[in-house]
Assembly symmetry: C2
Homo-oligomer: 229 residues x 2
DNA sequence: CATCTGGTTATCCGATTGAATAGCAGGTTG
DNA sequence: CAACCTGCTATTCAATCGGATAACCAGATG
């Protein structure tokens, strides 16, 4: 979490919209800082003053842009999930793959997303531990639809006989937690293993480890059988 | 998190230690309430006054027993890990099992612990997201030793050729997150799936799902093969 | 050029926080 | 029984919180 220099490039495009441009810039800057601070300290622990401080603006400005603290949180989370959907949109090539291979590609993409934006898991975990109206709002609006999509993918694998039939809620929490936790707990990784989770090699190796454990049963077993045993 | 009635049974055992007995009772009561509140709101979000309120004592008393807020947190976390070690101690029978079966038994025990005490994962995740001195304290004192124990178990499986060789830190975060997350995020489970994670059937099914995905590669594949495919 | 609008800052408010201090009451001890 | 610890409560304090209001001023408008 680093403070961001204020109003670096103004560059008014044409005429007339200079003010609107700066307003949008300021809004986006506050949102990004809000994501970081909310993720690190939780809703109650984060202070509007700190967020404004990191963004280099007066704390009263947040009230102007977002109404109140909860409005800021909801705007930040909306931005978070819209970015998730953008970055997780599958490239066209994936449609042609068989379902298991498509799921492996999805895992690799999701693990890289978790590494790139650890604040996502952090902010949602913080909110889910407490039982707030904000959690219910985010679930109804973002989490439940996303989850139904994952459920369809999972059921497809099971129906094709290519995956064992376990309760879907278990599958969901196991797979997402496996992908998120290492990056969500980057500080713990640093102190326990001395490993920097920003390292590309660590990220890719983690994705492959998940795929090996979850989706390469036969190949995994074969690899095991090829050992001395 | 429910408020606890104050001083229910005093029952002075013999003579002389009536005061000491009540003191220990009060201390334990405060610790339990502190665990719940710290887990739900994080260190900064939790107020000493709230913890004292749930315990039914004056907030000044916490200063008397634990010095300051950080002292209370450390005492609570110490209690947490000592209870973990007690409840995770393997019954003697497990020593005779082959390593893979022993690990399965360990998984079942750990999943039940996570369900019984979701505040453990919650409090440590909250602290790890922020990079505090408290996190480093807990890692040096509890997490690192526990982790080395898990690493030895894992390496034993790999050496016996009974488990695929993936980076240990990946294995660690995948397996513990898979066990913890559903119970840590009990509120999300409630709203997304309408499932109560206190249900024994849900807990046991989750443990078996983890075992099926992680440790029953051959059996899992066989189960898959027996379908129409 | 004069006026107006809207993004932003400065400042104030009551509530709550962690911490500190003084005092009380009842169990303990000689 | 009387003096004395000690576990506990009541109260105070400065700091910080979220929210509200008024002033400000650069840029849009006519």
């Amino acid at each position: 979490m680093t403070a961001v220099p204020k109003k670096s490039g103004k560059r008014s495009g044409a005429a007339g919209n200079l003010r609107a441009e700066r307003k949008a810039q300021t809004r986006a800057l506050i949102l990004q800082c809000a994501l970081d601070v909310f993720a690190e300290r939780g809703f109650d622990g984060a202070s509007v003053r700190d967020i404004a401080g990191f963004a280099g603006v007066n704390h009263g400005l947040i009230r102007y842009h977002f109404g109140d603290k909860e409005g800021l949180w909801k705007a930040a989370v909306t931005f978070l999930f819209e970015r998730l959907h953008e970055e997780m949109a599958a490239p066209g090539e994936e449609a042609g793959l068989p379902p298991l291979e498509a799921t492996k590609a999805w895992i690799r993409r999701y693990v890289r997303y978790c590494a790139r934006h650890p604040e996502h898991a952090r902010i949602m975990v913080q909110e889910s531990i407490r039982d707030s109206g904000r959690l219910r709002w985010a679930i109804r609006r973002f989490i439940k639809p996303d989850n139904e999509q994952l459920q369809r993918r999972f059921q497809h694998l099971v129906k094709q006989g290519v995956y064992p039939d376990i309760p879907h809620h278990s599958f969901n929490y196991i797979i997402t937690a496996a992908a998120q936790s290492m990056f969500m707990l980057a500080n713990e990784m640093k102190y326990v293993y001395g490993i920097d989770v920003a390292d590309e090699a660590v990220i890719d190796a983690h994705a492959e480890a998940i795929i090996k454990l979850f989706f390469d049963h036969r190949a995994g077993s074969a690899a095991v059988r090829s050992r001395k045993s």
